[in-house]
C-alpha cells in the first residue's frame, strides 16, 4: 500500500497482467474492470493516477475508467484501512441482528458506516446481500466470509485483528 503511485510506475507494474486480461476479450475496454482490480490488489485502492495508467495501458478514454471505478462498489477510491470489514445488513441478515451488530461495531471502533478507524486499521462498511443468508449475519473480512456473527465472535475477531496489527508494527 504505497502512496508513491505514478502513472509510469503503475503501468510498469501492471502491464503484463493487464495485457493478459485484455487478451481474454475482443475489446480492450472490457479489461477495465480486471485492470482496476489488479491495481487495487497491488495498491489497496484506486485513484486518479490509477485511472490514467489504466487508460493508457488499454488505450481507452480515461473517463471510461473512472466511470467503472465509481459505479462498482468494490473499488475503493479512498485508501481503506488495513482491513475492510463489510457487514451484510440486508433483510436476511437484518432479521438475524445485523443492524444491531453494525451498531455494536460502530461503537467499538468509534467509526460510522463507511469510515476508517483513526489508526488506519479497519474500515467498516454496511453492505448489501453477500449471498450467504443461511449463515446470517455475515461479515466479510477482506475477502473472507465470517458467518453467523455474534457479539462474542466479533469480539474475538477484533482482538485478533488488533493483535496482528501490533505484532506487525513490532
Amino acid at each position: 500500500m504505497t502512496d508513491d503511485r505514478t502513472v509510469a510506475g503503475i503501468k510498469a507494474a501492471l502491464a503484463a497482467q493487464v495485457q493478459e486480461a485484455a487478451a481474454r476479450y475482443p475489446t480492450s475496454r472490457s479489461a477495465i474492470m480486471p485492470a482496476l482490480e489488479l491495481a487495487q490488489q497491488k495498491y489497496g485502492s484506486v485513484d486518479g493516477t490509477t485511472y490514467q495508467a489504466v487508460a493508457e495501458l488499454l488505450d481507452v478514454p480515461e473517463i471510461w475508467v473512472f466511470e467503472v471505478a465509481s459505479f462498482y462498489t468494490l473499488f475503493d477510491r479512498a485508501e481503506p484501512g488495513r482491513h475492510h470489514l463489510r457487514l451484510c445488513t440486508n433483510v436476511s441478515c437484518m432479521l438475524r441482528g445485523a443492524e444491531e451488530i453494525l451498531d455494536c461495531l460502530q461503537e467499538q471502533l468509534s467509526v460510522k458506516d463507511g469510515e476508517t478507524t483513526a489508526d488506519g486499521l479497519i474500515t467498516l462498511s454496511g453492505v448489501e446481500c453477500l449471498g450467504a443468508c443461511d449463515k446470517a449475519p455475515v461479515l466479510m473480512v477482506d475477502d473472507e466470509y465470517h458467518e453467523d456473527v455474534t457479539a462474542e465472535t466479533l469480539d474475538a475477531l477484533l482482538k485478533v485483528l488488533t493483535r496482528e496489527a501490533k505484532e506487525g508494527a513490532a
Binding site: 475482443p26 475496454r29 459505479f71 462498482y72 433483510v91 437484518m94 432479521l95 448489501e128 449471498g131 446470517a136
Partner: protein
C-alpha cells in the same frame, strides 16, 4: 426426501476435484451431447424438456437458445450469470464452490448448442471462493481436453473466461451484465434487439443462470423423459430453494417444485424461530411477499405467478411474529435504491424518495398520507421503469403495503398533520 440431483455431491468436500466429479457421472452428459447430438438437436431436446431459467424470470431455456440466428456471420457468446445478488439467494454460490464442474459441463453443452466458442462466466466480485473453484475447474477441464480446441475430437472449440463483478446487483440483469463485460457501467440496454440477436459486442449471445446450466449435464445424461417427470409439467426439473430469515434451519435445499409455501417453510426451513410466521418472501426480495393467509400457494413458476408473485430466485425468506414489516420494507427499498443503476427516472428518483418516506415512518415521523404517497410512487415505478429492477422494487413494496398497511399506519403518530399538497406555481 427425494433423490438429490444438483446437490448430490454437496457433502463431498472433494467434489471440486475433476476425477471425483467424473466418478459420479460427471462429463458424461457432455460426452453424450458431443458424440450424438447436432447443436440443433441439443436445442430441440432442451425445448422438449421445458427447462425454465433459474435466474429469476423463468424463461424457457430452449426457446431462448432457438432465437440465436444460425448464420449471423459473427461470433456467438454464452454468458453464465453468476452475479447472484438477489437478497435471500445463495444457491449459485453453493453450486460453484462445492461442485464447479457441474457448471462447467453445463456451459460446454450450452455453448455447443448455440455455437459459441468463447464463454464468459460472470461471477460477483464478493464470491472469492467461487472464483477460485471455477478457475481451478476450468484449468482441470482444459487439461482433460474438455475445453480448448477440438473438444474430444468433436471439432468444437470452447474457451471459458471468468469475468469478476465488482459490487453491483444490477449486473445480474442480463443486458447490464453484458455491458459490464464490455467494460462499461452496468446499466441495462434497450431491448429489442434482444441479446440472442445483438448481445455481447453486438453479437448473438445467450445469458443463463448457474443453476439453469447446472441442470444440463443431468438432462442429457438421464434423458428428457426423466427430466420432465420431475415437478410441474410447465417447468420441470431439479430445483434449489434457499431458506433464510426467521427460519430455524436456513440453507439450500433441493426440493420438488409445487409444494405449498407454508409446508416448505416447515419441512425445509424448520419452522419459525419466534412463534409463527406472519409472512414470507418466496423468491428473493423482488418477489412480493405473502402473508400467512397465502401460505398455501404452490412453489412453482406458474402457481406463484398466478398468485401475484414469482418463483424468482427461489430465495425464501421467512418473517415471523417478531418481524416489523415496515422495517423489512424499508430495508428492501433501501437495497433497491442503493442498487438502482440510475438510468431511468422512476427507479432512480422514485425509490430513493420511497426509502426516505419509509425511514421517516419507521422513526415515528410519518404523517397521514405517507402510505398513499408510497402507493403513488409504487404506481409510477411499476411497469414504467426501464428494467425489472424498478418493477421488482415497486412490486414488493406494494405487496408489503397491501398486506400490512396497518403496521405502517400504526407507526404514524396520531397527532401528526396530514401531508399537504404543495403548489408548484
Amino acid at each position: 426426501m427425494s433423490e438429490l440431483v444438483l446437490l448430490k455431491n454437496i457433502e463431498n468436500p472433494d467434489a471440486p476435484d475433476i476425477s471425483v466429479y467424473e466418478r459420479s457421472g460427471g462429463y458424461e452428459g457432455m460426452r453424450i451431447v458431443l458424440a450424438g447430438y447436432a447443436p440443433d438437436q441439443v436445442i430441440e431436446a432442451v425445448k422438449t424438456s421445458t427447462l425454465r431459467g433459474r435466474g429469476g424470470a423463468g424463461f424457457p431455456t430452449g426457446l431462448k437458445w432457438s432465437f440465436v440466428p444460425k448464420d449471423s456471420g459473427k461470433p456467438h457468446y454464452l454468458c453464465c450469470n453468476a452475479d447472484e445478488g438477489e437478497p435471500g439467494t445463495f444457491k449459485d454460490r453453493i453450486l460453484m464452490e462445492r461442485d464447479p464442474h457441474q457448471l462447467i459441463e453445463g456451459m460446454i453443452i450450452a455453448a455447443y448448442a448455440i455455437g459459441s466458442n468463447t464463454a464468459y462466466l460472470y461471477i460477483r466480485g464478493e464470491y472469492g471462493l467461487s472464483v477460485r473453484r471455477c478457475e481451478q475447474a476450468i484449468v482441470a477441464a482444459r487439461a482433460k481436453g474438455y475445453l480448448g480446441k477440438d473438444i474430444l475430437g468433436s471439432g468444437f472449440d470452447l474457451d471459458i473466461h471468468i469475468h469478476k463483478g465488482a459490487g453491483a446487483y444490477i449486473c445480474g440483469e442480463e443486458t447490464a451484465l453484458l455491458e459490464s463485460i464490455e467494460g462499461k457501467r452496468g446499466q441495462p440496454k434497450l431491448k429489442p434487439p434482444f441479446p440472442a440477436v445483438a448481445g455481447l459486442y453486438e453479437c448473438p449471445t445467450v445469458v443463463n443462470n448457474v443453476e439453469t446450466l447446472a441442470c444440463l449435464p443431468h438432462l442429457f445424461r438421464r434423458g428428457v423423459e426423466w427430466f420432465t417427470s420431475m415437478g410441474p409439467k410447465d417447468g420441470p426439473g431439479p430445483k434449489l430453494f434457499c431458506f433464510s430469515g426467521h427460519v430455524k434451519a436456513p440453507g439450500v435445499y433441493e426440493a420438488p417444485m409445487g409444494l405449498p409455501l407454508g409446508e416448505m417453510l416447515e419441512v425445509y426451513g424448520g419452522g419459525a424461530i419466534n412463534g409463527r410466521f406472519k409472512a414470507a418472501i418466496p423468491g428473493g426480495v423482488s418477489a412480493p411477499m405473502f402473508p400467512e393467509s397465502g401460505f398455501d400457494v404452490k412453489m412453482d413458476f406458474s402457481s406463484l405467478a398466478e398468485a401475484g408473485s414469482m418463483l424468482g430466485s427461489a430465495g425464501v425468506i421467512g418473517l415471523d411474529e417478531s418481524a416489523s414489516i415496515p422495517r423489512v420494507a424499508r430495508r428492501i427499498t433501501e437495497f433497491f435504491s442503493h442498487e438502482s443503476c440510475g438510468k431511468c427516472t422512476p427507479c432512480r428518483e422514485g425509490l430513493t424518495w420511497a426509502a426516505k418516506i419509509l425511514r421517516r415512518i419507521e422513526a415515528g415521523e410519518g404523517s397521514p398520507g405517507d402510505v398513499e404517497q408510497l402507493e403513488m410512487l409504487c404506481g409510477s415505478i411499476f411497469g414504467k421503469s426501464f428494467c425489472a429492477l424498478g418493477d421488482g422494487a415497486a412490486w414488493s413494496l406494494g405487496a408489503a403495503l397491501k398486506h400490512f398497511r396497518h403496521e405502517f399506519e400504526a407507526l404514524i403518530p396520531v397527532q401528526a398533520q396530514p401531508v399537504q399538497e404543495m403548489r408548484l406555481w
